[in-house]
Subunit: 924 residues, 2 copies
């Protein structure tokens, strides 16, 4: 220990020694076609400073200036808000250069250089001090400005604005709350009243001059200090204010929310002023090199003549479309078009620019990568590949996988939706469990949904929670809305698998089945059966009334086949992205599906196999729930076997259907998993009906359901535990699978079933089940004379399974991570119950993302890595995939790629997203 301490001390001494030697460069100059910085120096110069330097180097007309680095900010806070030695000299030197280039001198009474001071962090950050303009003006230099511009009103207006900005921002007189009043605005109002005018523009140069004096008095009164007349004092005050604003409350909150480290710091940009309000030959504007809403390759922007930057944004005057600039100032417009080209060619990105025209001369004040809609993002990426601006890989890295939903899901007409919200029709918000837009009439019962839908009505099925008995109703509904349950509740799972719109766990709803109405906490509206509602499954919003939806073009081509691909540009875009993605990804993509039609959809979306076929869903089809219940209510092995014998042909037929659709693509079939009570009704009426149907006394049914009650069903009698206590169930399921395989093979269909045993925690559990499966396979091959390949593997979904992966891999031919349950058990959190604390948890940043949405890589991920390494150590060809909900979530897919999985499996409608995410993971 002693030694350790000594060595640490030595090290720290060394560091100090090193830092003494180093003399950092604190100021980076730009101007006159040359800059010391460049885009890549964003960390040091901030985004704004780096791009000003880059534009300068590109030969674009940027007013000269310089950037004080973010390192100064770091130093500032590490040294009790003082500046590093040498900074002053650095700034002076740079300022000299600016003076030289601009032909003006800072503080000169004849020909004063005025500057702007702006903050500029690595990432754009609201809450920081933004801008001080016209710095350098005082009672003397203002005369120089008058002389130069020949416009006293302009000069005093600039002066007035400067003093006000300086007072507000640097001297901290800006109102802190909405009730406070800006002292400067008060003075202006008084002045206008005194002069009998209404608008600022009506004030004369003299009025403005008086205002400046009154502003200064107010500053003295409020702060006890005089307004600094010395431009250098002004400058250092402004620099200090920028650095100071890095630690103001809003900035701190924003950084915390967006995970921006405090250590990054901000840079300060000081730049010579140019004026868009010099007269009618001046102006200012903002533009995007392409349309940020649609992505269309057109020059898009707005401008105002005789105005300063803030006027464009303020909304007091309506800016003109950029095309109009051609008429007002053709030269500047053509120059802008040229700059647009230069910037796109250079940055190979859609750029957002700010410009000012001073007396017919164009200046660039800012450029940065432009924000855009998801749709534009896709279009721009695809177009830029076509233009050979970027590579396919780059294009893929620019499209967030979830943005693909824009191409796949029906959406509401955005204008209509906005109106509806403005009208107060947004009723509640639940979990965005099934993305897309749906509108229809409220029904409360699955049967009614079926009836109404058969009459051609669009319906929204509204339930407190859904159960397997609602499946038919769900399948005919446009959307599903539930009051309870989480992102893996029955409603959510089924909806995503069906590609239905679903808002789940919307707990503001009070659903009264008897009265057939919904009350909403905090709202007066009552929604009655038959009323129209609209669900935005992408946001979780529930909106009263009907909204128009737009169907997805991709869907129409791929599945509905109602559109000609050639006439479907969005489909073409989708198709191109998917081809590129498939070229680069290493992960295979499978889907979670258990019906032939779902499987067909998934194949249309590019699924390469089924990663999870839940056999229990099959028990809810017509004619199947009866024997299933009979099986559960059996008293003896014999009775159970009799009931299973009835299920065998039904389940076999289901498998045949899926095998035919998949034709040789691998299909992972999970043996029965849920607790048995899920197959029985929990209410007296339902139980009476079951009793009647099966000819069993009601009391027996009731007692059996009660006996099946569990304190923690998630950790109860389910998964392979069922098959171990009732091996005859596993036997029947294996037989159904293999007989189906033999039957379709006779038809010439290829089959590759992978039998998956769920909830294995101990290798012996798997071994016992595997023995049954293999024995049945041998029997079926012998009986049918058909040989077929198959695998036996397991789901890794409880920690002990992951921990003992080496033992389990001795038996399992494949692993599939069931990350839903693995997350529940590893975190000790029941997803269905987490609502009460998961929101405060995410608010307090305990988990940065909902661990049921994105894999908790530290906790759950540790077990996954352990399982992959130890499993493959025993069986090096072990096939490993994931079939939990995370299999369709991009950050989780990246993780799966990194730890070496072979495939991910997700719901059919997430297959394209997974393909893209997998490609991005491979490229990254």
């Amino acid at each position: 220990m002693a030694q350790k301490k000594v060595s640490r001390k030595t090290q720290s001494r060394k560091t100090t020694a090193r830092s003494k030697k180093r003399v950092p460069k604190y100021v980076y100059f730009f101007g006159g076609g040359r800059a010391e910085g460049k885009t890549e120096m964003k960390n040091l110069l901030g985004g704004k400073g780096a791009n000003l330097a880059e534009m300068t180097n590109l030969g674009l007309p940027v007013p000269a200036g310089f950037t004080i680095t973010t390192e100064v900010c770091t130093y500032y806070y590490q040294h009790k808000r003082t500046y590093p030695p040498g900074l002053k000299e650095n700034v002076d030197k740079a300022l000299k250069k600016v003076e030289r280039l601009m032909g003006a001198r800072f503080g000169d009474e004849q020909n004063p250089l005025l500057v702007s001071v702006r903050s500029g962090a690595r990432a754009s950050m609201p809450g920081m001090m933004d801008t001080i303009l016209n710095l350098g003006l005082n009672d003397k230099t203002v005369n120089g400005l008058i002389k130069q511009s020949g416009n006293p009103r302009f000069a005093y207006d600039s002066y007035r604005r400067f003093v006000q900005m300086y007072g507000d921002v640097v001297l901290d007189l800006k109102p802190k709350t909405k009730d406070d009043v800006d002292p400067f605005e008060e003075i202006i109002e008084a002045k206008k009243k005194a002069k009998g005018v209404t608008y600022d523009v009506e004030l004369t140069a003299e009025d403005l001059k008086e205002l400046v004096a009154e502003f200064k008095k107010a500053i003295k009164r409020e702060t006890g200090r005089s307004f600094p007349e010395d431009p250098r004092e002004q400058l250092w005050g402004a620099i200090g204010a920028v650095f100071g604003s890095w630690m103001n409350d809003r900035a701190i909150v924003y950084r915390k929310l967006n995970g921006i480290p405090e250590e990054w710091g901000t840079a300060v940009n000081i730049q010579a002023m140019v004026f868009g309000n010099y007269g009618e030959d001046s102006g200012t504007g903002v533009a995007f090199t392409r349309d940020p809403a649609t992505g269309e390759n057109i020059f898009y922007g707005e401008f105002l003549m005789n105005a300063q930057g803030e006027d464009v944004v303020a909304g007091t005057r309506t800016p003109l479309p950029i095309l109009e600039l051609a008429k007002k100032d053709r030269r500047s417009y053509r120059e802008l078009l040229r700059i647009r080209k230069v910037l796109e060619a250079h940055y190979r990105e859609m750029m957002d620019i700010e410009f000012t025209i001073q007396q017919g001369k164009l200046y660039m004040l800012q450029c940065r990568v432009g924000k855009r809609t998801a749709f534009a993002s896709i279009r721009i990426a695809v177009d830029m590949v076509r233009q050979k601006l970027i590579t396919q890989k780059e294009a893929l890295m620019r499209i967030e996988p979830d943005q693909l939903n824009q191409l796949l899901r029906p959406i509401f007409d955005p204008v209509q939706k906005k109106q509806a919200v403005a009208q107060g029709r947004l009723m509640a918000k639940g979990l965005n469990a099934g993305p897309g837009a749906a509108t229809g009439r409220v029904v409360f019962h699955a049967d009614d949904a079926v009836t109404l839908a058969s009459q051609g009505a669009d319906v929204i099925l509204v339930r407190i929670e859904t159960s397997p008995e609602d499946i038919e109703g769900m399948s005919v509904a446009q959307g599903i809305l539930t009051a309870r349950g989480g992102m893996t509740s029955h409603a959510a799972l089924v909806a995503r698998q069906m590609g239905k719109v679903c808002v789940a766990g919307c707990d503001a709803l009070e659903i009264d089945y008897k009265k057939r109405e919904i009350h909403i906490a905090g709202k007066d509206n009552v929604i009655y059966e038959g009323d129209f509602i609209s669900l935005d499954g992408t946001t979780g919003e529930v909106i009263l009334g009907e909204l128009e939806t737009r169907p997805s073009e991709v869907l129409q081509v791929l599945i509905d086949k109602t559109l000609d691909p050639k006439s479907a540009p969005i489909y073409q875009m989708y198709d191109r992205i998917m081809r590129w993605a498939d070229k680069y990804r290493r992960l295979r993509i499978r889907t979670n599906a258990d019906q032939p039609d779902q499987s067909a959809n998934a194949i249309a979306f590019g699924a390469e196999g089924i990663g999870l076929c839940r056999t229990e869903h099959m028990f809810f089809g017509e004619g199947k729930i009866g024997p299933m219940r009979q099986m559960i209510l059996s008293d003896s092995v014999e009775e159970r076997k009799a009931a299973l014998a009835k299920l065998l042909p039904l389940q076999r037929r289901d498998f045949e259907g899926i095998f035919r659709v998949m034709n040789g693509k691998p299909i992972t079939i999970r043996t029965i998993d849920p607790p048995l009570h899920e197959f029985l009704p929990h209410d007296d009426a339902g139980q009476r009906e079951v009793a009647k149907d099966l000819g069993i006394p009601f009391e027996v049914v009731k007692t059996r359901v009660a006996a099946l009650h569990e304190f923690n069903p998630m950790l109860g009698f389910r998964g392979c535990r069922l098959g171990i206590v009732y091996p005859e169930i596993t036997e029947m399921q294996a037989r159904a699978i293999f007989e189906a395989a033999a039957n379709v093979k006779k038809e010439g269909v290829k089959v590759l079933p992978e039998v998956m045993i769920p909830l294995v925690g101990h290798v012996k559990e798997l071994k016992l089940q595997e023995e049954i499966v293999r024995r049945v396979a041998r029997e079926v091959m012998k009986e049918t004379g058909v040989r077929f390949k198959y695998l036996v593997g397991t789901m890794i979904e409880i920690p002990r399974g992951a921990i003992t992966a080496d033992e389990i891999a001795g038996v399992a031919e494949f692993f599939s991570f069931g990350t839903n349950d693995l997350t529940q058990t590893t975190l000790g959190v029941s997803r269905d119950d987490a609502g009460r604390f998961l929101i405060p948890y995410v608010e307090q940043e305990i988990y940065s993302r909902d661990p049921f949405e994105a894999i908790d890589q530290v906790g759950v991920g540790f077990l996954m890595k352990h399982a992959v390494q130890n499993g493959r150590a025993v069986r090096d060809k072990l096939k490993i995939g994931i079939c939990g909900e995370h299999g369709g979530e991009p950050s989780s897919i990246t993780f799966c790629h990194q730890i070496g999985l072979d495939y991910v499996s997700c719901s059919p409608f997430r297959v394209p997203i997974a393909r893209l995410a997998a490609a991005r993971a491979a490229i990254a």
Copy 2:
């Protein structure tokens, strides 16, 4: 890969080469005071063979013989049931030696050597072929025996027995089922009938000779082969039968159940016959060197004159106590006393011996470590230390920790209990949740228990399941019986903590609260309120009627103080063992207690601190449940704080009480852990009462209880999640702890509270709670002017906590493994629901032991080791303990010692067991 294969091949060639060179010794001789084997060669010679050799070397009179090694058995099964080359020669040579020493020849018609053939595995194994006696007799050698003994009847009886045994065992004519008849017994019966006699002994020599002939005919008839007249053929037949029996069904099952590897194999012992039935100067007997029931240091055994070994066991004649032998054969008796001393001095163990006296000469036929009761085990160990036969360490290693229960728990009078069972009064069996014996009148309600107990009645509280409201009733009851719930159900936990007898989860009981009666599945008896029942909490048995119990002497000295320690020999024994244990153990022992009286008991039992003080139990005391419920039903932080303010002084008083009792011993106090709904009644009546008490509408209470319902409460809103959503609860608890600490410190009491945050899965959870605790500690120190030490740590009870132990150790000053929950989450098994599959699981040997009883070292243990290593890597002095139920289970304590924990914590009544287990772990 290719290289790997080659190298394997080379290796296997080498092995073959090596095994060719080695010429194993297959046969070990003993006799004439010299043996080739010894005790330590048990693996090679089996237990019986090794001890025969050892006794020979000790100079004890052992008939000469030899042992065929277990390696021959292994060879036999590896080589299609053939013997290794050279074995025959080995056997012949050894047999020659025996002939020489015994002065007789195998197969000699004049002076035949007869031998016994016995199996002898490493561990004693029922199901194996046991013994063939008198081998070597045939129609010719029988005449030699007649000549030698002068007793034709003896000779033919020996011959008859041999043929019968040989036919049964070697030729496999023994009946396979109970309905089959032994062909030999049939013949004997027919003979007796024909001769008109009743007993075997009435048959004459001639009759017996006829029987031999008839037996042989039967053998020919049944097997198609003649009885082998050649003694060598007989011998090899018997050897083959011994080896063959290693693989019979019963032996296989036994091995599987007891974890005995098949590879061990059995040895075969061939030994010269001596006869206890040679006449009245002959006899046979078995003895123990001490009393195996009480452990008393007296020679204990039985014998019969003129009898063979099996007669002593068979029960046809009543054997005499060994003391009587002094009268019958004084010389042999004194010789036996000498041998007893020699054996004890040599083996330093209580031995079990078999002897035979032939014509006044004593022979030793077997010796092995004697089986004994738990009580005897303890007494013998303690006595042997006093005698300086063994060291203290050895004594500790000979006492199974659970055997200490014999010294601690009241037990039923064993004779009375046996009678009760014989009378059919055993009603049902549940989980042995709280060891000990209790008898009393059935009551169904806690209130009634209190009333009746106050009138002096002993009561047994019988509930479907218990809830915190039953605590007072439980505390006055002699025992608790529940129909539902597992080993960590409320009833079980509380009972163990209180040291109460408890049988839990006895699902055969149908309890009718209304009629106040119990029906039992499969029984006609109805048990009414007020009836006597008896609970054996050590076995889980429920017995009808009253049974006498014996109180524990140790308890009377330690806690009741009704006995003078000097007049309490059992206490003295206990005390000695505990002193030794404390000398050798490294682990500290704490207890789980949350009341002053429990804590006092635990200290009496040797607890060195409290490892788990559950604060929620405190909320159920008088006057506390009201404010607690008010807190839960609060609508706002303010209301909640008001309710908490009422709880503060109550909880503070509780802590003061415990602090005073523990006086400076560390106390780990866990902040509130259970789901809130546990504090509210679930039935309408109870809810109405709460509503009335608190002046809240019934509907509000009902709705709130419903809202608190969870699908999987084990994984729900509990543990630190409560304190994070309601920080004011943690704040109140911290304040109660620290104010109590300050108050008692003023009184001169030492305090060391360790505040433990439960259910932590993410370091930020702990951090948030830790900040509150430390802030309150600072505040209290400031307010009271008292400084005190305290720690803040966490329970590691969900996998993510263990996985991220390094992060958590950055904040936690200690870890305590909550292995109950850690097992539930790691295995994905809810203990309360496991009943339905855990029994089939243990039956199918998926888990060799119930993982809730003994730590699953592979799964849960992996996470524990990971947490210890990674936690200590960050904080090397990190204090680590365990407070799950496993903390009182010996194999788990050993594991905790091995992975380097600092302490284990268990219920007060298991503290002595833990002390012993910890010492054994350290010694091992």
